[in-house]
C-alpha cells in the first residue's frame, strides 16, 4: 500500500530544510581557516590532554564510497519537521561493525565493497528467492519516506529515506502459516568490517548482528526496506546496500547491510537483547514511559543544525509519534514488561 493520503503522523506544513544554511556556514568557517588552525593547535599539544580529541579537530571526512541517484516517487505528504542535514545523517552513526564511536563508520566504511551482494529471503515460505545488488533497487517501485529516527541513546534525526515496503518484499516469498516472525541478519565479513575482526573495535558484540520482528510488525506499511537516503543510494556507514527502517522502534532494530531475511516460527534472537536483556527488549518500541535503566527516555535531543546552543530537547512520543499506525498491534501487550 502506498500512503497517498496524509497519515496521522505526517504533518502538512511546508517542509523546511536547513541543509543549505548549514552547508553555507560550514563553507564560510572553512574559508576562514579555523579548522586548519584548530588542527595545528591540536597537534602541537600532547594528545593525553584531549584523549580521543584529535579526530574532533580534523575537517570533514571525505566520503569516497560511490552513491548513485535513484528513481523514486517523492514524498507527497510534506513533513513539517526540519530535516537533519545530510552531512550529519552520514557522519553520526551507530554501526559497530565499523567501530563504536559515532564518527568511526564514516571514517572506516568508505572502501566497503557491496558488489556483489546477495540478499536471500527464505524460511517458512513457498517461494524463497534471492536478490543481487542490481535487483535491490530495480525489483520494486521506490518511494521516498521522511521518517523520524529515535535512537535508544535519546537523540533523534529526521531522514528522507528511499525504499519500498518490507511487506512487498515478504509477500513475494509467500510465507506459510508457520511464519510467525521474521529474522534479519547483517553481512558477516571481518575482512571488510574491522569491528567484526576485533572485539575492541566492535564493542564486544557477537557478530553477525541479528534482529527480528513479529510478522504483523514486519507487514505493517510503515516498515520500510531502505536502499537510499537524500535521493541517492545508501552510504556505506548508513547500511548500504539495503537496510531496515522501523520508525516506531528504537534505532537498533533498524538493522543495516542485510544479507538474509528468514520467516521463522519462534521469536528470533536480537543482538542488543542478547548483550543486555535488562536494557534492550525484543520489541524496543519507542516509549517515553519506560526508561532505559541508565537514562530517561521521556525526552530526546533532535539533531538538526545549530551548535551547542540549539535548544533541541523535545518530548519523546509513544511509538515515536506513529501510534496512529501501529499502536493497535500492541493492544493486548503489557508494554512495560515487553519493552
Amino acid at each position: 500500500m502506498l500512503i497517498k493520503s496524509p497519515a496521522k503522523s505526517s504533518l502538512k506544513e511546508h517542509q523546511v530544510t536547513d541543509e543549505s544554511v548549514y552547508l553555507q556556514r560550514r563553507q564560510l568557517v572553512k574559508k576562514m581557516g579555523f579548522i586548519g588552525a584548530g588542527t595545528l593547535i591540536a597537534s602541537a599539544i600532547p594528545s593525553v590532554v584531549h584523549g580521543k580529541g584529535l579526530d574532533f579537530f580534523s575537517s570533514e571526512p571525505t566520503q569516497t564510497f560511490q552513491r548513485y541517484p535513484l528513481n523514486f516517487t517523492a514524498n507527497s505528504t510534506n513533513n513539517a519537521q526540519v530535516l537533519t542535514p545530510e552531512a550529519k545523517v552520514t557522519s553520526h552513526n551507530n554501526f559497530y561493525e565499523f567501530g563504536t564511536n559515532k564518527s568511526d563508520p564514516v571514517n572506516n566504511a568508505q572502501s566497503f565493497n557491496v558488489n556483489p551482494w546477495k540478499l536471500t529471503i527464505s524460511g517458512e515460505c513457498d517461494k524463497p528467492y534471492t536478490l543481487d545488488l542490481d535487483a535491490l533497487t530495480k525489483s520494486f517501485v521506490l518511494e521516498e519516506r521522511i521518517y523520524r529516527l529515535r535512537c535508544v541513546e535519546a537523540w533523534s534525526m529526521v531522514i528522507p529515506w528511499v525504499g519500498f515496503e518490507l511487506a512487498t518484499l515478504l509477500k513475494k516469498a509467500q510465507p506459510n502459516s508457520r511464519a510467525k516472525y521474521v529474522a534479519f541478519e547483517t553481512l558477516y565479513d571481518p575482512e571488510q568490517m574491522p569491528g567484526q575482526a576485533s572485539r575492541r573495535l566492535g564493542g564486544g558484540v557477537d557478530y553477525p548482528y541479528v534482529e527480528g520482528l513479529r510478522i504483523d510488525e514486519a507487514m505493517n506499511p510503515l516498515a520500510l526496506m531502505s536502499v537510499g537516503l537524500y535521493g541517492k543510494t545508501l552510504p556505506a556507514q548508513n547500511g548500504a546496500p539495503i537496510r531496515l527502517v522501523v520508525p516506531w522502534k528504537y534505532g537498533f532494530k533498524s538493522i543495516k547491510s542485510i544479507v538474509a531475511i528468514k520467516f521463522v516460527e519462534h521469536p528470533p534472537a536480537s543482538t542488543w537483547n542478547i548483550l543486555a536483556p535488562s536494557e534492550y527488549g525484543f520489541y524496543a518500541n519507542v516509549n517515553p514511559n519506560v526508561d532505559h535503566p541508565r537514562w530517561s527516555q521521556a525526552s530526546e535531543r533532535r539533531i538538526t543544525s545549530g551548535g551547542l546552543f540549539a535548544r533541541n530537547r523535545i518530548d519523546t512520543l509513544p511509538f515515536n509519534g506513529y501510534g496512529g499506525e501501529v499502536a493497535e498491534m500492541y493492544r493486548d501487550l503489557d508494554l512495560r514488561k515487553n519493552f
Partner: protein
C-alpha cells in the same frame, strides 16, 4: 629554576586552555561532529580524567627521577582537572538536559553512573577549594589526609566511565586499570600512615 617553573606553568596553561577554547569554538559553531553536545561532554569528561591521572603520576615520577620541577605544577594540573570536570557537569546541565532541573536532579539520583560521577566531582571540588595556600597552611597535617581522597575520586570516576558506556568497555577498563595501578603505587605510603596512627 624560577624561569623554568614559569615557562612550564605557561606551557600547562596553554596546553589545557587552547584545546578547550578550540573545542568550544567548534561546538558553538556546529563544527564539532554531528552532535556537538555529545562531543563536548565526552571531550571535557576524558580531558578531566586524563588531567586527574596526570596529576597523580607527577609525585611518583618526580620522586623516582628526582625532578622537583614537576611537583611545582601538580596543583595547577589538579585544578585544571577540576575545571574540565566542572565544565563537563555544566555541559550536561546546560546543553544536554537544557536546564530541565527536574530531569537533572532525577538523573543525579536515579542513574548510578551519574550519582558516582557527582560524588567524584564533589571530592574534586573539596580538594580544589582547600588547595588555596592559606587554607593548606591552616589545615596542617589534615590537609594531606583530606587530599588522599583524590584516590577515591579517581576510582569513582573510573566506575562512572565504565558504567556510562553501552558495550565498549575496553577503554574504560584500561582507565580503571591505570587508576588502580596508581593507587597501588602509593600503597606503601598508605600502609605507613595506617601503622603510624
Amino acid at each position: 629554576m624560577k624561569y623554568n617553573v614559569f615557562f612550564f606553568k605557561l606551557f600547562i596553561h596553554l596546553a589545557a586552555l587552547l584545546p578547550l577554547v578550540n573545542a568550544y569554538y567548534l561546538a558553538f559553531t556546529d563544527q564539532l561532529g554531528a552532535d556537538p553536545v555529545e562531543a563536548i561532554i565526552h571531550f571535557t569528561g576524558i580531558g578531566a580524567f586524563n588531567l586527574l591521572l596526570l596529576s597523580l603520576v607527577i609525585t611518583p615520577i618526580s620522586k623516582r627521577f628526582k625532578i622537583s620541577l614537576l611537583v611545582k605544577v601538580r596543583r595547577l594540573v589538579g585544578l585544571y582537572s577540576f575545571t574540565y570536570a566542572l565544565l563537563h557537569l555544566t555541559n550536561f546541565l546546560v546543553f544536554e538536559v537544557q536546564f530541565d532541573w527536574l530531569l537533572f536532579l532525577n538523573e543525579i539520583i536515579d542513574r548510578p553512573y551519574i550519582t558516582i560521577g557527582m560524588a567524584g566531582l564533589l571530592i574534586l571540588l573539596t580538594l580544589a577549594i582547600t588547595s588555596i595556600s592559606a587554607l593548606k597552611k591552616r589545615m596542617g597535617k589534615n590537609w594531606q589526609k583530606l587530599h588522599n581522597w583524590v584516590y577515591l575520586a579517581v576510582i569513582f570516576v573510573g566506575i562512572h566511565f565504565y558504567w556510562s558506556v553501552k558495550s565498549d568497555i575496553i577503554e574504560p577498563s584500561i582507565y580503571l586499570f591505570i587508576s588502580i595501578t596508581l593507587l597501588a603505587l602509593r600503597f606503601e605510603k598508605f600502609k605507613k600512615r595506617i601503622k603510624k596512627s
